[in-house]
Amino acid sequence: MPDNAPVKLLVIDDDAHLRESLAEVLELDGFECLQAGAAAEGIATAKKHNPKVVIMDIQLPDSSGFQICQELRKHSREAILIMMTGRFLSSEEKTQGFQLGADEYLTKPFDLQELSVRIRQLLSRGRS
């Protein structure tokens, strides 16, 4: 993949506004953003386009973010998986998520500047 090509990124959230606003902000930042409103759709899109980064809500109508995480980790070891949540997570839940392959957690609402920096950092680390 050429270096100047935009990094593919997938946002999975059932809230269309949030999905869209997040995607648009990240596109401004130079990412190519794919979107999915449900777990199944998200997994299919990921398998098809192999995004480098997947940002997903933990609570989805048809499944949980952790299950997507587990599924995607089978498919790709390099992908950066970021979990979003609207509520507090206990450390047990977080630990469980990390074991399933999650790389980072975000609690809504989050600082988008921070997120952008964090993604690039994770990407550069994965590349080296």
């Binding site: 809230d15 506004h17 949030l18 606003s21 997040l22 648009e24 902000v25 401004l28 930042d29 609207g86 509520r87 507090f88 206990s90 609690t107 809504k108 609402p109 989050f110 988008l112 500047q113």
Partner: protein
């Protein structure tokens, strides 16, 4: 009559006395009655026998008299017949002699002399005319018997149909040469009126007794004499048939017994045979008079017995009354006791007998009863008191329960609010995130395109700030409402406070005054939770001191079990009406605030098994005191709540304030839970 009439027991009173009476009478009178009756029976028999014997002797005696009477006239005739030369006398001479005899003996009605062949030679009589006709008696019994047997007594007839007369004949002898030869018969008719006269003299009272002389047999009887002479002078005079049947058929020469006449009257009769003649002398008396003595004696005995009964009755009454008197007194006393009157019992004489013992026992009993009743009454009072006490306690407990219930309801309500807040908070986070994202997009895009002017940028940052503020409110609510597990650690309290103060962003106008206990208290607590509580308190303090002020932080070991952590300010203080509600969740006086800051403080301290006190004075400042359990070294660290159970209650009053602190005049204590409960 020997049986005393049993007095009927009247009503309920005095039964015992009457019973005594009855028994006394039975015991004393019954034997006496039996003996008396028996004696009367015996004496009656004896007296009756005596009466009969008396009758009999009368009869026998009179029979003798009758016999003598006849014998006298016989003798007179015999003497007259044997007068010297009477046989040889001519009739005139004989008549003269006989006339003398008649003059001497009035009973002779007629005298006649018969020659040997029965021709009458002399005839003279009191009621004969001159020169009476001479009769021939050769075939007459009176003549023949006198010649053959030597004498004749018989020929009972009623002279002139009225007077009973008897004929007596004796032979006339003439001595002829040493031999006596019968020359004729001297015959006399004797009036028997004399016998009746004699009977009348013997038995003068007609009604009581009478006597009679009877000859012949039952069918052909002849009343010779009667004590009532007029009876004997009747032509058909005779005794009652029943009597005749008895006396004229007797073989015995004398006897007697009771006879019942046709008219129902009873008689006591006796009879005796007159020697030679075969006449019967009969004496009778009505039984009433014959047995008069016996009847009188019986009446006397009965009178005496009656007296004895009356006297015994009176004596028994007296004795029974005497015996039952103490019992009656006892009864009265018992009735008073029954009515519940223990005082003024009738006076009881303690005699030296069973009744005295009874009275003694009764007195003991009444005393005991009085005592027991007193105890009962006392117990009742006690019970009533206990009952009231219990009621009060139940009321108090009910109030407590009500309060606890209210508390619970409040807690549940708060929990529900917390739950809701959590859900709402969570749901608001998504829109907040969208707003945040969108505004970031706008800001980035406008910046890139160079069209972001200053005003727009300012408003974008206001939006971002408000989103952040809203998010922090949600954080606060979620922090309060979630039940995170406590993660306590053993910590040196002073060090922990120092560390926290060092990183806390105090504004420049705030002075911090520390006053930490040099004994270096050690606690077992969750540092994260406690940090949140202390930060809230300091934050509040800073907020109320916008110009100038001091935040005071201190620790103080109160006793073996408790340490106090103070966080105070020198702000305006809290008014009384606000003070009561400061720990209530969502209560706030700030324009912006969740009203959860102090509620979180209280919750955290409660979770550590401690309590919060507030001391405040308007215009001077406020001091929050957090009482926490001291960690006991050597004891395995345990959950604060569990440690609390074995720990004495925290000091009830606010401990002495640190020297630097202003003395607040009023304190409010809130208890997380009743310590030690």
């Amino acid at each position: 009559m020997e049986e005393a009439p049993a007095p009927e027991a009247v009503g309920g009173r005095g039964k015992l006395a009457y019973k005594f009476l009855l028994w006394f009478m039975l015991i004393s009178l019954a034997p006496m009655g039996v003996v008396g009756w028996h004696l009367i029976g015996i004496s009656q028999g004896v007296l009756k026998e005596e009466s009969l014997r008396h009758q009999q002797s009368l009869a026998v005696g009179f029979a003798e008299t009758v016999s003598n009477y006849i014998a006298t006239f016989k003798t007179v005739l015999t003497i007259a017949s044997r007068l010297e030369g009477f046989a040889q006398m001519d009739p005139v001479k004989q008549e003269r002699n006989l006339n003398r005899v008649m003059q001497q003996h009035a009973a002779f009605l007629e005298l006649s002399v018969f020659d040997a062949v029965g021709r009458e030679t002399v005839r003279m009589g009191r009621f004969l005319q001159e020169q009476p006709q001479m009769r021939d008696f050769a075939d007459q019994e009176s003549f023949r018997a006198a010649l053959d047997k030597g004498e004749y007594v018989g020929g009972l007839v009623r002279f002139q149909g009225l007077y009973p007369t008897l004929t007596i004949s004796v032979p006339i002898f003439e001595a002829v040469g040493g031999q006596t030869v019968k020359r004729g018969v001297l015959l006399g008719r004797v009036s028997l009126n004399g016998l009746s006269q004699m009977l009348r003299q013997e038995f003068p009272e007609k009604g009581r007794s009478q006597a009679a002389v009877v000859a012949g047999d039952v069918k052909d009887n002849f009343l010779v004499a009667h004590s009532n002479p007029s009876e004997a002078f009747k032509a058909d005079a005779h005794l009652p048939e029943e009597v005749l049947k008895v006396i004229l058929t007797q073989a015995a020469r004398h006897g007697g017994g009771e006879v019942e006449l046709k008219d129902g009257s009873r008689l006591l009769g006796a009879f005796a045979e007159v020697k030679d003649t075969g006449w019967i002398v009969y004496v009778q008396q009505p039984t009433e008079s014959a047995y008069l003595a016996a009847t009188q004696m019986r009446a006397q005995v009965v009178r005496v017995l009656l007296w004895v009964v009356v006297i015994t009755l009176l004596l028994s009454l007296a004795v029974a009354g005497h015996i039952t008197q103490p019992i009656r007194v006892l009864q009265q006393a018992a009735e008073r006791l029954t009515a519940g009157q223990f005082e003024d019992l009738p006076e009881m004489t303690l005699t030296n007998d069973e009744i005295g013992d009874l009275a003694q026992s009764f007195i003991h009993m009444s005393d005991s009863l009085k005592e027991k009743t007193g105890e009962l009454l006392h117990a009742k009072d006690e019970l009533t008191k206990y009952g009231r006490d219990l009621e009060r306690r139940v009321e108090a407990r009910t109030r407590e329960l009500k309060a606890a219930q209210d508390e619970l309801i409040k807690k549940e309500r708060l929990a529900a609010i917390g739950q809701m807040a959590s859900v709402v908070g969570h749901e608001i986070r998504n829109p907040l995130a969208v707003i945040n994202n969108s505004i970031f997009f706008i800001k980035t895009k406008m910046t890139k395109e160079g069209i972001l002017d200053q005003k727009v940028e300012r408003h974008i940052s206001i939006i971002q700030s408000e989103v952040k503020q809203a998010n922090s409110i949600i954080d606060e609510i979620l922090t309060y409402s979630r039940s995170k597990e406590l993660k306590p650690e053993v910590l040196k309290l002073n060090h922990w406070i120092e560390e926290m103060l060092s990183i806390y962003p105090f504004p420049a106008h705030i002075t911090v005054a520390k006053n930490l206990d040099a004994r270096d208290p050690v606690v077992y607590m969750d540092p994260e939770e406690m940090k949140q509580a202390i930060r809230n308190l300091m934050g509040n303090g800073i907020e109320v001191m916008p110009q100038q002020g001091t935040v005071k932080v201190g620790t103080q070991i109160v006793d073996r079990s408790w340490v106090r952590m103070d966080v105070g300010d020198t702000g305006p203080g809290i008014p009384q009406d606000v003070l009561e509600k400061i720990f209530t969740p969502f209560y706030t006086t700030k324009a912006r605030g969740t009203g959860l800051g102090l509620a979180v403080v209280k919750k955290v301290v409660d979770r550590h098994g401690g309590r919060v006190e507030v001391a405040t004075e308007v215009g001077r400042g406020t001091m929050f005191s957090l009482f926490l359990p001291l960690h006991e070294p050597g004891k395995a660290p345990s959950a604060p709540a569990a440690a609390q159970a074995s720990r004495p209650a925290p000091p009830a009053t606010a401990p002495p304030a640190p020297a630097a602190r202003t003395e607040p005049p009023q304190t409010v204590r809130t208890h997380a839970r009743p310590p030690g409960a």
